[in-house]
């Protein structure tokens, strides 16, 4: 990576013009979606990190004498059937749901993108094989496959990461493959090949950075889908095991008391909506930031 190769004069010129263009980029803070997304997600991360300081209660410790209390000054959103403070569990739940939602895109993003890049770049029988496998995986809906895989692998956070990875790599493969097929015919790639660079160098140093933006943008909507997946697993009793505070299992607990304490099932869902909104804004903002039109 540190080894520099002599750059032809005209290429150097290209680089300079690229730099000039990037300086002309509209600053990121004028991008409303991006800023809105960063504020929402920033707040949620803040809440997740400082949950223990933000509330005096324990998210797991039961206090049956104070079960199912209505909202009060001591318990802003009341307590659940085990006397645990709802607000505390909501804040602690942010840790679990946000962590899994964000971390679970990493494996499928890396694996799927690399596989898609290889398939698109080399084509031939390898491409055919990969795309047939992709077709097969596309036949299984995300939720169905995640539920079945978590059942097979056993509950727990590691199983959730594995199950999501096993299902969602296909989208990245499809996206990156399509982008690489277009990019590999472009002049700069043909030129790089003709100048004697290895396939690996052309693919990962020259094509890679240019085709990844679509993958990154998709990754943001994938985070939303993963959070939905985790929450759904929690609701079905297949995800993070109780008594850990997690939004999905909180909705399940709250459903029992929907006629008397409707806040309990409503609030965790609202938090999911806010989180998704933040991630979607971040995704829209990124896609605007990465699109060529913004570089005016």
């Amino acid at each position: 990576m540190t080894r520099t190769i002599p750059v032809p004069a005209n290429n150097r010129g290209l680089r300079r013009s690229a730099k000039k263009r990037s300086r002309a980029l509209k600053p990121w803070y004028t991008n409303t979606s991006l800023v809105a997304g960063m504020i929402v997600i920033g707040l949620l991360i803040f809440v997740a990190v400082f949950a223990p300081i933000l509330t005096p209660y324990d998210p797991i410790q039961q206090d049956l004498r104070h079960a199912l209390q209505d909202p009060s000054a001591a318990h802003w959103f009341g307590t659940d059937k085990y006397g645990r403070d709802i607000l505390t569990r909501l804040l602690w739940g942010t840790r679990v749901d946000l962590r899994i939602g964000f971390l679970s895109v990493i494996i499928p993003f890396v694996f799927g993108s690399i596989l898609g890049a290889l398939a698109g770049y080399f084509g031939g029988w390898f491409d055919t094989l990969v795309m047939r496998i992709v077709d097969v995986f596309f036949a299984f809906p995300f939720l169905v496959m995640v539920i079945v895989l978590v059942f097979i692998l056993g509950s727990g956070e590691a199983s959730i990461y594995l199950a999501i990875a096993a299902v969602s790599w296909v989208a990245y493969t499809k996206i990156v493959r399509g982008e690489v097929i277009v990019a590999k015919e472009l002049d700069y790639v043909v030129g790089a090949r003709l100048s004697g660079m290895s396939h690996a160098r052309v693919l990962f140093r020259h094509i890679g950075p240019n085709v990844l933006s679509q993958s990154i943008i998709y990754g943001m909507s994938d985070i939303v889908m993963n959070i939905m997946g985790v929450v759904t697993l929690g609701y079905l009793g297949l995800g993070i095991a109780p008594p850990t505070a997690e939004w999905g299992s909180m909705i399940l607990d709250g459903q029992e008391f929907i006629t008397s304490h409707w806040l309990q099932a409503t609030l965790p869902g609202l938090l999911v909506v806010v989180t998704s909104l933040g991630v979607s804004w971040l995704g829209d903002g990124l896609s605007e930031q990465l699109s060529p039109e913004r570089r005016k």
């Binding site: 047939r132 939720l143 097979i152 609701y235 079905l236 909705i251 409707w262 869902g269």
Partner: protein, 319 residues
């Protein structure tokens, strides 16, 4: 027309490897279970005799490709094993649940279209103005709501507080089914609307800017007539394939929604089987869902061709 339909056999042949892939994945599921598949399938309480019986049934003493061959040949005979919970052939149980889930899916799609088409039209006729922004906020929030939570909220508002609908169940007569399935179908329908609205909105904006719509307008066509005769069909073409893709999402969602509303369909069957560790039933439901999605893919391509005369036999669009 006939010539256009001649691509069907080609499309069917293309689907064969995918169908085999689906059966392979479902077959391999048993081998992903930790430990010996027969023991894992039957659980700790099984007697050595029942484990031995299942080992022979699955052909576990043979090489894995023979096991897969056995699985496929059983499949062709309509044999997916016996449910441990119900002690009946799995195929029978799954076939009984399929109509319930399919009617829920069809109902949801209908409600989704009833909501989405007017909203997309409202948004597309005034891009970036007030009503478009309202619709866009709706799609943004809509895609961020967990389906089961929407279901619980609808139960809270429409069933518990307003007492308009039952909180769950399926009913006995066709009319009752329609009544009982309304809330679950609305839940799934709402989940589907953001995707449909987005696709329909952007294609409607394209169509409204086209020359033939300008011609139709200059001839005096306007309002609903203009929409029905000139806009909708053309704007619907890209949306058809979007709907095709989301059918898998709809089936996946119905699994959870059936639990929320206690509907005796594939989803309840699958979740119950998961809790009783009834592995053959889980396998059968997964297989059916996979095959269903492949089938919908073929149907989508077919509809696409019928709607758009420019699609040629290979599926590419002539400009």
């Amino acid at each position: 027309m006939l010539q256009r339909l001649s691509f069907i056999p080609v499309r069917l042949i293309q689907a064969i490897p995918v169908v085999f892939g689906v059966t392979l994945v479902v077959f391999l599921m048993a081998h992903l279970l930790p430990g010996d598949p027969a023991t894992a399938i039957l659980g700790d309480k099984a007697t050595p005799a029942t484990i031995a019986a299942l080992r022979t049934q699955l052909g576990l003493d043979q090489p894995i490709w023979n096991q897969y061959g056995l699985f496929v040949s059983h499949l062709f005979q309509g044999d997916l094993g016996t449910s441990f919970t119900y002690q009946r052939p799995v195929v029978e149980i799954v076939l009984a649940a399929i109509p319930v889930t399919l009617s829920l899916v069809a109902y949801s799609l209908t409600l989704a279209l009833i909501i989405a088409i007017p909203l997309a039209a409202i948004a597309a006729t005034a891009p970036n103005r007030g009503r478009d922004i309202v619709v866009r906020i709706y799609t943004l929030i809509g895609q961020g709501m967990p389906q089961f939570w929407v279901g619980i909220m609808l139960i809270l508002i429409l069933a518990v507080n307003l007492r308009l609908f039952p909180v769950g169940g399926y009913g006995n007569t066709a009319l009752e089914h329609l009544y009982y399935l309304f809330l679950p179908a609305l839940t799934l329908g709402i989940a589907l609307t953001p995707t449909i609205i987005r696709s329909l909105r952007s294609s409607t904006i394209d169509v409204l800017g086209s020359e033939y719509v300008a011609t139709a307008r200059s001839k005096g066509s306007a309002g609903v007539t203009l929409f029905r005769h000139h806009v909708l069909r053309n704007a619907a073409i890209p949306t058809v394939s979007v709907i095709g893709v989301t059918m898998g999402y709809l089936v996946g969602g119905s699994i959870v929604i059936e639990k929320v509303f206690a509907i005796p369909g594939l989803g309840s069957l699958m979740l119950n089987s998961i809790f009783t560790r009834d592995f053959p039933t889980i396998q059968a439901v997964t297989l059916f869902v996979g095959l269903f999605v492949v089938g919908v893919g073929i149907l989508t391509d077919l509809t696409y061709t019928l709607l758009d005369p420019r699609v040629n036999l290979t599926g590419s669009v002539r400009s």
